[in-house]
Amino acid sequence: MSAFNESFRFGIRNIRKRPYRSFCLVLAAVIGSYALFVGLALKASLNNGIGRMQERMGADLMIVPESSEIEARNILLTGEPEFFYMDVAVATAAAEIEGVECATSQFYFTSLSSDCCSTRVQLIAFDPDTDFVIGPWIDERVTSDVSNGSVIIGSEVTPLSNGKVKFYGNEYSVAGKLGETATGLDHSVFMSRDTMHGILNDAKDKGYQFLNPEDDGAWVSTVLLRVSDDADITAVEKEIYNRAGGIRFIETDKLISDVAVKLGSVENIINVTLTVLLVFSFLTMILFFSVIFHERKKEFAVLRILGTSSRRICFFSLTEGITIGAAGGIIGLVLGILTVFPFNHYIENSLDVPYLMPSVAAVILYGMIGVLVTTLFGSLSSFLSTLSLAHAETYYTMRTGE
């Protein structure tokens, strides 16, 4: 029987013979590994989310009605359905300004939540001819274009069981699905202006009047602009404002830096909680191992008497520490997986900041880090406790006070 085998078995026997203590120790390791895994996964998802958001915000500048800035931000950040509009003249004006590379307009309105068990979603009519913000992110699944009355759905929109979506009593087939953007667009449904007119008419029939009875083609909710690199964005804003009043500008860079600030505070909370839990886990393990080994001073003395070298005794206790740390680490990891994956959307909805799970490989890496760290905690705390005993002369003698 190899020395490793023997000390492993002896360690396991000691762990099993003292279920309560072992349970507390494993629990400490579980907390450490769980906190580390969930904390790292959350942080990575947040950073991933804002990164994706930055990447997918196609426009530099967004023009919205003066009174609707907050609503527009809600649409972009959380997908909270909103409805507002302004005169189409803004779009025409903006397109003519020097420094504006692309300009496209969109019209925002909302669905009903009454179609059983589907939340209200943001409906967005866009112009496929000028569009430069949605098109690039449509996944390859597009089967037909949106001109024939089908729609494109955001990644978080769940179609009905027949694969269609339903608004105001009518069903629409899905032409494509957007990739995840970590923005409110994930909760939106995109369509052509023609389709929009049809839905608006259905809504009117049901008693939901979005627009005045006038020609709704003359209204837009927002104008999205891409400004050329050498143009001064403030000058562009000024120029547009001079031509069409009653508007507000939302700069994508500023929007993202606002989100980054909010994200920073969420991250701080995660960091603090993570640190506290890790320290708690480590201290608990050190404390418990010290108490255990103090109580077991006599047992170590017996091991010495029977011819176990100091190194071997350290090895025995190290085995206990590693086993407990690794076992707790793995349990914590399993619990973490059961939190992060099934409750992915729940976490996303609660955090109110862009949230996008990183790749499975990255998540596996965090899991391994968690297990590794608690295993290290276990071995370190058991080792430190044994070391403190090894230095005490009393450790060798059977009778205390001699």
């Binding site: 029977l306 070298s309 059977m398």
Partner: protein, 223 residues
């Protein structure tokens, strides 16, 4: 050559700033086959002396020489090996490992050391003699004080070591078992093992080939 020799052995402890000499300049030798009994009042330094002999405690000055080698020059690993294979120490009080059964306790020195496991016959022979055969698969927590004592003795004698050192081995035994244990020690001594027993029980002194008395750290030959 003596198997074990102690030369001018001194052990001092510090107690609240005062130096206290637990073992005071002891010279001592033991030959194979010797059955030495040491008596003395409690606190006279007997246990410290035994700890020094087995290398569990380092002396303040002087030397312990086993098989011609000073323990001072022997590393922890080798001293441990000596304790594992040649010197069996039966300390005072309970010294069974609580996580292991009686059988596993008796065989434990062989699982951690290099010596070959004793045969099942040898195990049963010893356990029969000590009356613990029925208890082999019990855990120490289910045993009485006397039963634990006997299991400890079984652990020490099973492989006929070079030296057995026992610190009040029969303290918790009745007189019948006490004499049985002494007979085992005497038998094993007659087969060439050196035995050192610390005892309070005057009636057992007759088993010894030598009797020593410990008094305030000094050792005197009585018989």
């Amino acid at each position: 050559m003596a198997f074990l020799e102690a030369q001018k052995l001194v052990k001092e402890y510090n107690r609240r700033g005062k130096t206290f000499r637990a073992v005071d300049d002891i010279d001592f030798t033991i030959e194979p086959g010797d059955f030495v009994m040491i008596e003395g009042e409690s606190g006279s330094g007997k246990t410290t002396f035994l700890n020094l002999l087995t290398g569990l405690t380092d002396p303040t000055s002087g030397a312990v020489i086993i098989d011609g080698r000073s323990l001072k020059e022997t590393g922890d690993k080798e001293i441990s090996k000596i304790r594992n294979q040649k010197i069996k120490y039966i300390p005072q009080g309970e010294s069974l490992l609580s996580a292991l059964t009686v059988r596993e306790n008796i065989l434990f020195p062989f699982t951690i050391g290099g010596l070959e496991r004793p045969s099942e016959e040898r195990l049963l022979e010893v356990s029969d003699k000590l009356g613990i055969t029925d208890l082999l698969d019990e855990y120490p927590s289910d045993l009485s004080g006397g039963e634990m004592r006997r299991a400890t003795i079984a652990r020490a004698v099973i492989n006929k070591p070079s030296l057995i050192i026992a610190d009040e081995p029969t303290g918790s035994l009745d007189s019948a078992n006490t004499f049985k244990v002494m007979e085992i020690f005497r038998d094993i001594a007659s087969e060439g093992t050196a035995v050192i027993v610390v005892t309070h029980q005057k009636e057992t002194l007759g088993y010894a080939t030598r009797v020593l008395e410990m008094d305030q750290g000094s050792l005197k030959e009585v018989v």
